[in-house]
């Protein structure tokens, strides 16, 4: 283990590293931190993410936000304006392309050129580093809503420098959530360290009075992730961010599809994070939550996709999440047209509006679900702290090594990959294999019983085939992957 630890980076060290970071691509040289802070301060209130989220939190709204990004700035502004005006989005994203996510700025440059030549976007997002901060500011100035950077970048330091100076007011990702599901062989120590830099940067803005929001990526691999697994990652990234001075945090969760479990997940995410942050002495953090509509395979049929989107919007609204990230009826076909993107937003807006004043009552089953999630999260996080000898950063690295944290279906070689999820007989996600997760016996027994119930109903053993059936189920019009007839 290197000298990684969960400790605020000293200012001198941060600025020294900063010099190197800005050299990674020519556009880095344009960033002047003092000037950037002033630029952020001068942003009108309605373009500040933290302010909008706090307002929603107070009024019990669930805000809606799309995913969207294209290679060139004019097209990006056109797309995002459309999603604002026609799609009725409350918050805007700029999704970053996959080359930039891998710091492959040369490939991104080629993508920009090809996009210009072809007259259509050849990149799956906006290469903000290549475009540089002035172009980012033009984008921000052309839009009327707060804009967040959404990406999947293991080393997102330069991207953060450029986009924060560029006027974005929210930054997604984290050292765990943008590594394990997004990289194959990048070490966790490196990404945690690199994200400490990002958080330190945003903490620095915060110290100067600029409220920038941070959002760990909740859904991880996006398919059948047990709530406790993603909660553990969200809480760890919240603790790591808070240590670096971040004050505004949105924690996320990806819909699994069983309503009670999804509502329990958002409620426990808030309750647990609040409790851990307070216990660790970070008592001035403003917490909000984000619910991601189903991130797994979608039906090809657009009408059915609308139903999946609406069901996600329903669970988001009933869970009381602060915002919901919206899918589109083209989801199964790849990157959507702007019309399809607006369609997903409008359907979602209708649902969250109709459900604004409704909620799910606290029931015995909801309590039980919440209780299980809390026990699991606490058991895992206790072990993380123990492994880290009191240090959350060290503990995280060691926990992944030991499989104490384990994310299903993740591509990273630093992930154990031993746990296996499957749905129970009402569609809630359970553990078919708990791998090395340090779960209490009663919790394990609960999950086993739930899966046994399904096995009995379906008259088959729970195997990898059941998992595959579950993965394909929603795309095929069902929630639970029942045996084929």
């Amino acid at each position: 283990m290197s000298n990684l630890k969960n400790k605020k980076i000293p200012e001198e060290e941060f600025f020294k590293e900063r010099e190197e970071v800005l050299k990674a691509w020519p556009t880095g040289e344009d960033v002047d931190l003092d000037e950037a802070i002033q630029y952020q301060k001068d942003l009108p209130e309605h373009k500040k993410m933290s302010a909008r989220l706090m307002q929603a939190e107070e009024e019990g709204e669930t805000l809606i936000q799309p995913r969207a990004g294209v290679a060139l700035p004019d097209e990006l502004v056109e797309l995002l304006s459309y999603l604002d005006e026609e799609g009725e989005a409350d918050l805007l994203p700029v999704t970053i392309d996959s080359y930039t996510r891998q710091n492959q700025y040369k490939e991104a440059e080629q993508g920009i050129e090809e996009s210009q030549e072809m007259g259509r976007s050849m990149l799956n997002g906006f290469p903000a580093v290549n475009h540089g901060l002035e172009t980012c500011r033009k984008v921000i100035e052309s839009l009327n809503l707060p804009v967040q950077v959404r990406h999947g970048t293991p080393d997102a330091r330069l991207l953060a420098e450029i986009t924060m100076a560029g006027g974005f007011s929210d930054y997604e990702g984290g050292g765990i959530s943008y590594n394990i599901p997004y990289a194959k062989k990048v070490s966790l120590e490196d990404t945690i360290r690199d994200w400490q830099y990002v958080d330190r940067l945003i903490g620095y803005y915060q110290e100067q009075g600029v409220d920038i929001n941070r959002e760990p990526f909740g859904p991880l691999t996006g398919t059948l992730v047990p709530p406790a697994v993603s909660h553990v990652v969200a809480i760890l990234e919240a603790l790591l961010a808070a240590e670096q001075g971040v004050k505004y945090l949105t924690l996320g969760y990806g819909q699994n599809g069983n309503l009670v479990q999804d509502v329990a997940a958002i409620q426990t995410l808030r309750e647990l994070a609040d409790s851990y942050l307070t216990d660790e002495g970070y008592d001035d953090i403003k917490l909000t939550t984000v619910f991601h509509q189903w991130m797994g395979g979608f039906p090809q049929d657009e009408s059915k996709a609308y139903a999946v989107i609406s069901w996600g919007a329903t669970a988001a609204a009933l869970s009381g999440a602060t915002k919901v990230i919206v899918k589109t009826p083209h989801e199964a076909m790849g990157i959507p047209t702007k019309e399809a993107n607006a369609s997903g937003l409008k359907a979602t807006k209708q649902i969250v509006n109709m459900l604004k004043d409704q909620s799910l009552e606290q029931t015995a089953k909801l309590d039980r679900e919440k209780d299980m999630i809390k026990k699991e999260v606490r058991a895992i996080l206790d072990k993380v702290k123990e492994l880290g000898e009191g240090d959350w950063a060290k503990g995280t690295v060691r926990a992944f090594e030991a499989g104490v944290i384990d994310i299903p279906f993740a591509p990273s070689k630093f992930n154990k990959g031993k746990i296996l999820p499957a749905r129970d007989n009402i569609g809630a996600v359970r553990y078919l294999n708990t791998g090395n997760l340090p779960l209490p016996d009663d919790v394990k027994a609960f999950h086993e019983e739930r899966l046994a119930e399904r096995g009995e109903f379906e008259d088959r053993e729970a195997t990898f085939q059941m998992v595959i059936d579950d993965i394909y189920a929603i795309g095929k019009g069902m929630l639970i992957g029942r045996p084929r007839e």
């Binding site: 492959q104 194959k184 797994g296 076909m333 959507p336």
Partner: protein, 153 residues
């Protein structure tokens, strides 16, 4: 040696693409169908596909691309195979291959023109490609070669 008779497929997700789940299911489905999978995983470049195919004497390379950059990432793989002396190897490609909603026929033609033997739209079941593989390999064994762009479906 029983394994010798099994067809071998190199599979992976090309480019900067990290979509891991389909890749894992495809590996599982190949095993179930008695095909030997050589899974080079996500974020693999063209050279990694070719090297793995040469090393394992594979019968086919299955390229997945789910994130929309397929058009840029997949170009030139046939040439790289030729350079490595495996110019005749079966090349299949599948996934969300391009950005935006384009007609599947156009997308298919684009990839067949690049030298892929078969191209699959999103939502294709593994079994479909496995059936084609067995069909193509039989044809290959019988004829010694295969019509590279035969639109068999």
């Amino acid at each position: 040696m029983e394994n010798q008779s099994k067809p071998t497929v190199v599979l992976g997700v090309i480019g900067a693409d990290v979509h891991a789940i389909g890749n894992q299911i495809l590996e599982h489905a190949l095993k179930e169908a008695d095909v030997k999978p050589v899974n080079i995983g996500v974020m693999s470049n063209q050279q990694e596909f070719v090297s793995a195919a040469v090393e394992t004497g594979a019968d086919a390379i299955w390229v997945s691309s789910l994130y929309g950059h397929g058009e840029m990432d997949c170009r030139g793989l046939r040439d790289k195979c030729k350079e490595a002396g495996i110019g005749d190897i079966l090349l299949y490609v599948g996934g969300n291959l391009v950005i935006g909603k384009q007609s599947w026929d156009d997308v298919k033609d684009l990839f067949l023109d690049m030298g892929y033997d078969r191209a699959y739209p999103p939502g294709t079941q593994p079994e479909t490609a496995i059936d084609h593989l067995k069909e193509d390999l039989n044809e290959y064994n019988l004829e010694g070669e295969i019509n590279a762009a035969s639109p068999a479906y």
